[in-house]
Symmetry: C2
């Protein structure tokens, strides 16, 4: 109700017309001049819906570049759509801003949002802009489409299935540590390039939407890793009533993460439980592994087999001596 894109209207209306209307290019968004938007999935398809919020001081740092904040807000949702095999279709945005927000901040935020909306084919359909006495809070609801009944579930892992993961793990968690303690770069003996790599991985997730279709075709279960690999794989196992064994040595690491681990081997727990990876973990029947790996190569998404679904409970992370690592806290939780 508070989103009329009308230059003659209130401050809010002008703000929406100026910053957000250019991102609302789908005809169903009605140019943001109505109270609701319209969407119909193509014939034979259904909608997949997800909502994720990010708050300054919790999910991003107040001095993060606003373009990066916008990208993160959208991408953490796109990552969910990717893991479930859905094609992004659009999103709604609620943003709570301090009354004295800087227009440059919002301009840069909108620029980052617009770029990503284009890049991922996921236009803005509506939303709300409100004032808050607290930190900036951004809630995105994203929706995608896929053929009816083909969503990749968390449930579905079977004993003997292979476990694969996209990209590299732990970079974002190390990047956040680095942001909070600049001296860590020296302790970890990182080159400036490595430091930048880790920082960037915390700042802007790289959702794996290019892999969505292949996951739909080949994965028995999947989810995106947002709260730490160890905990998230544990959750996937739990709903499937299986266990998992992962060889830590096979977990894919960036050059920067390898350097940090060489300097401080105890960082392995940060890597495996730190969160904010926004990679996809999937289980795959043995006879589909080769096809999924091939599809990942075609989609230019790095994919690594790291372990196997086993009988039992929980995800075990095995060191090279065969012992399972134990974690005080396997995944991130706000409460």
């Amino acid at each position: 109700v508070r989103r009329l894109a009308d230059r003659a209207g209130s401050g809010e209306d002008r703000l929406i017309a100026r910053y957000f209307k250019p991102i609302a290019r789908h005809p169903g968004a009605l140019g943001l001049i109505d109270d609701t938007a319209i969407f119909a999935p193509p014939a034979g398809q259904e909608l997949v819906l997800t909502a994720d919020a990010i708050v300054a001081g919790m999910h991003f740092l107040p001095d993060d570049p606003p373009e990066a904040v916008a990208r993160k807000a959208l991408r953490v949702n796109l990552s969910d759509l990717a893991a479930k095999g859905a094609k992004p279709a659009g999103f709604l945005l609620s943003i709570a801003l301090p009354k004295n927000f800087k227009s440059q901040w919002l301009e840069a935020f909108a620029r980052g949002l617009r770029d990503d909306a284009r890049r991922y084919g996921c236009p803005l359909f509506g939303g709300d802009t409100v004032a808050t006495a607290g930190p900036v809070a951004i809630s995105v609801t994203a929706f995608g489409t896929l053929p009816k009944g083909t969503m990749v579930r968390r449930f579905g892992a079977r004993i003997g299935h292979g476990i694969v993961i996209t990209g590299t793990i732990g970079d974002a968690a190390l990047g956040l540590r680095l942001r909070k303690d600049r001296s860590a770069a020296r302790t970890w003996k990182l080159t400036p390039e490595m430091g930048r790599h880790l920082a960037e991985r915390y700042l802007v997730p790289q959702p794996r939407n290019a892999l969505a279709q292949a996951l739909r075709q080949h994965a028995s279960a999947a989810m995106d890793v947002s709260d730490g690999l160890a905990g998230d794989l544990g959750k996937l196992c739990r709903v499937s009533s299986v266990g998992a064994e992962v060889e830590i040595a096979r977990v894919p690491l960036s050059k920067a993460a390898r350097a940090a681990l060489a300097a401080d081997p105890s960082l392995i727990k940060t890597v495996l439980t730190g969160g904010d990876d926004f990679e996809i973990i999937a289980t795959v029947p043995r006879n589909a592994l080769a096809a999924l790996k091939m599809a990942a190569r075609t989609a230019r998404v790095p994919l690594t087999e790291i372990g196997e679904v086993v009988a039992g409970k929980g995800a075990r992370f095995l060191a090279s001596n065969g012992r399972a690592l134990t974690f005080a806290r396997a995944s991130f939780s706000h409460f």
Copy 2:
């Protein structure tokens, strides 16, 4: 990604399982144990989507009963669906809570949400629970369905069409004034019952979803009144390139609002611009007015004709002497 309804999981997961899973009764919500939800509109129908956020200290008061806060968060969205002629189908919820939130607060919040989800046939499909260092912030994305191409637009008012409004106007704005200044009840010579009525109208909107189908059949344009009747009717006129004339004497008022106005006639500006009414303003071709009034009676929604669409620009509110009232600020805006 942070919504696994799993008692063995993290604090967040337990919180979601305990409070929110009981509200997620649609099979497409997958019991909140997956990363996304699934929804397909019935054949021949399309989806109508809206997002509205409420923030403590801005849209509700920090000591408002949590049940009422939950109802308001959902109902401001249901009100949009109603005005557009859509039938509620479901919603997603993002809630940012202080780390030290009281579990009784969240329990009561979830109770209010569950009651309304049932009452309006609008179950929970997913969402996110995050921590904030600021005030409680709640963002809801609601979606509804309607036959393809039948959404009631803001655009569509034609010269000569009648202007109707549901319920009574100004109660919520007066209720908020009363909440902030208890002595006003004496100044306005309100009975205790009148005071309660106004306070209640601010606390919990009454969305007019019972009128949705009739609006689809008979209205040429409609929107819900959230930011003040004067400003919102102005917005409706602007997108339709028409003007409006409203006789102030015909604007429906509650007994309490009439009493307050009798004591202080200057309150008429608060009534007409104060916002939070969540009633529906619609324009209706003359030959459809009788049918819409009949349908409203059947749906037990009070409906009053208050004026007419005219040539020109803007909404004019005419006093009994024929003069147009002027407003310093026709509608609420956060910025």
